[in-house]
Amino acid sequence: MSSIFENLPINLDDLPKVEDIDFQPIDKKYLKVILIGNFLFFLLLAAGLFALNFFTDELGTTSYLISGGAFLLVITWNLIITFLGFKRKMYAIRDKDIIYTKGLIWFVRTSIPFNRIQHAEIKQGPIERKFKLSSLKVFTAGGQSSDLVIPGLPSETAQQLKDFILRKTAEDGEPTP
């Protein structure tokens, strides 16, 4: 394994490995938050579709059937993805970095070292508030593309994590000559 990159003075086998970590799942209640959010979204969409069919005169019952069928398919697909994909939402805090994984079809794992974090904040939407959950958002410099959001954390955990990260960032970020 250590011969993958031959010209390095570091032995790759000695490094801490991301693939061996035990990841923490996010709070199960967050699944409900997603489901309620999706439900509201689809409700609006259904209302829109219905209105569209209703005000277009020439279309008969077949158009209701077609759009209804397509709609059901999308909902079913969404449910499957939500349930199966939920297990993939996991995070890990190591000594020097924070890692978040997600994605059923597109698996994504993002790692940010504490000494590269600009700041961190806690966010809470109206549905999350009902379940006493929060999202932790971690910012890096220069644009949004590398920012990281861990949703579905119990509010106290989110607060503790944020304090921990900010402390770590201050400690690790200090440049030493």
Partner: protein, 499 residues
């Protein structure tokens, strides 16, 4: 007042040329916002005397508004230095006081348009990284004053610096600079010739159509009314007309990019000094951009087939910026030769590490995947038209060898290289492009896998810096994980300044 050493601690105004500069800015802004209305006044009022009067009043009101606005803006703009920060106090209706500590200042850049050049003043832009909206600019300052201000701030900032303990001698040395690139007229011509002319063509088309679209409600009607009379002629001489159009469009695009390059890159000079790099360029709008050595995140250089004949590259030096893809504060130098790029790299990055052993290819499955998406699927869709147009649909099969050739070309150039200090990503289709970054400048590592990639044990690695990211597609999972672990370790154990 001018002869004595400049004292920035008292609030002061800009050079009075600023009134003109602000006026131009205002006029431009109003014209941009109201030009359809203005245009309709001029067009609609043809041959109507009361209309002409109205136009006159509108023009006078317009001018008065702009002039008044710019004079007020000028008199309500003060700046001064207070301790370790620069303070700007401005605004007519909504007064704002912006306070920027020196420590947060990234770079101080100068810009000159024609008016600035005539009066020998510059506009000063102070750029800070990270927080948005914290960027400030001073519209016009006497050049000597601006340089004094910049040197003062940079010297103060250096003293505040925690990393390097700068003494007087180093500040002195910081001023010394060595020019490494000067775009001579012949080089400028080469740059103009080797621009991406297709891009200029697209720009021209976009401009022409959007303008027509706003001026006339319906382009179709407009075109048919304009060209209706030529229709017979066109049909009779279709080939001639086609060739003529192609040549005309090609010539216009070529001239457009040529003129554009001259305006933008005229008398371009790139120099290195102790603290970093400095670029001066432009004919009508003269700009001066500086980048601190430690702020450089990525150095990229690329070439296209024409530029390659001149053995020239376009070099881009990116620094951390607040904007997502904002090219502000990035240095772009078309017409750099390989040795100049090497000199920049060795000036900015630790040169002793700049050698790579082997080239890591990406998986050959990238080729087949790209072929599937850009070759097979479009071609199949094309073949489906068989039911509409008959055997002519078979021509869509020609698409396959073309795409295969392109994909193979792309694959053969896609690779990456690394050593203990650097990461380099190589790509290119007809040309070539290289991105180089120091590993410790990376701030996030992302591993991505599609279902297909998971089945084949492959992954795509994205490495984010504060100024853009490097992508290494379709790498064996083992390699990707090793990279992830290695980079995280290197970033976490490296305590050098990175932004």
């Amino acid at each position: 007042m001018e002869s004595q050493p400049l004292d920035f601690s008292a609030p002061r105004r800009q050079s009075s040329v600023a009134i003109g500069v602000i006026l131009i800015k205002f006029v431009r802004m109003t014209i941009r916002a109201f030009w359809p209305i203005l245009l309709s006044f001029f067009i609609g009022g043809r041959g109507n005397s009361t209309f002409q009067d109205i136009i006159g009043y509108v023009a006078v009101g317009f001018a008065a508004f702009n002039l008044g606005g710019s004079i007020l803006t000028y008199f309500r703009f003060y700046f001064h230095i207070d301790g370790d920060s620069i303070v700007i106090d401005k605004g007519i209706l909504k007064r704002t006081k912006t306070n920027i500590p020196f420590a947060r200042i990234q770079t101080i850049n100068f810009r000159q348009n024609i008016l600035h050049q005539i009066f020998n003043v510059v506009s000063v832009e102070i750029d800070t990284a990270g927080a948005k909206k914290s960027e400030i600019s001073i519209d016009a300052l006497k050049k000597t004053e601006a340089i004094a201000l910049r040197d003062f701030i940079l010297a103060e900032k250096a003293q505040l610096g925690t990393v390097e303990n700068t003494d007087e001698k180093e500040v002195e040395e910081a001023i010394l600079e060595e020019q490494i690139l000067h775009l001579r007229p012949i080089d400028l011509l080469k740059v103009g010739i080797s621009q991406n002319h297709l891009r200029s063509m697209a720009l021209i088309f976009a401009f022409v159509f959007s303008t027509l679209n706003e001026a006339t409600e319906d382009i179709g009607d407009f075109l048919s009314s304009q060209f209706g009379q030529y229709e017979r002629y066109m049909v009779d001489n279709a080939l001639f007309a086609f060739l003529f159009t192609v040549i005309l469009v090609a010539t216009i695009s070529f001239l457009f990019s040529l003129v554009n390059s001259v305006l933008k890159y005229y008398e371009l000079r790139l120099s290195i000094h102790k603290k970093g790099l400095k670029l001066v360029r432009g004919l009508l709008n003269r700009e001066e951009i500086s980048i601190n050595r430690s702020k450089v995140q990525i150095i990229s250089w690329s070439t296209n087939p024409i530029r390659r004949m001149f053995s020239m590259f376009t070099m881009k030096i990116s620094q951390a910026s607040s904007a997502e893809s904002g090219s502000k504060g990035n240095i772009k130098v078309p017409g750099s030769y390989q040795e100049q790029i090497t000199r920049v790299i060795s000036a900015v990055f630790p040169e002793e590490y700049y050698q790579f052993d082997s080239d890591h290819k990406v998986s050959h499955l990238l080729k087949t995947r790209l072929f599937l998406f850009f070759g097979m699927i479009p071609s199949l869709l094309g073949l489906a038209t068989y039911f509409e147009i008959g055997t002519d649909a078979l021509f869509f099969l020609l698409w396959l060898p073309i795409i295969w050739a392109l994909v193979s070309l792309y694959y053969s150039k896609r690779s990456f290289q690394l050593n203990q200090e650097f990461m380099k990503s190589n790509a290119g289709l007809f040309g070539r492009s290289y991105d180089l970054t120091q590993i410790h400048k990376i701030q996030a590592v992302r591993i991505k896998q599609s279902l297909y990639q998971r089945r084949k044990r492959l992954a795509t690695v994205e490495l984010f810096t504060a100024a853009g990211h490097l992508t290494l597609p379709f790498i064996e999972l083992e390699k990707a994980q090793a990279l992830e672990n290695l980079i995280l370790y290197r970033v976490e154990s490296d305590r050098r300044e990175w932004m």
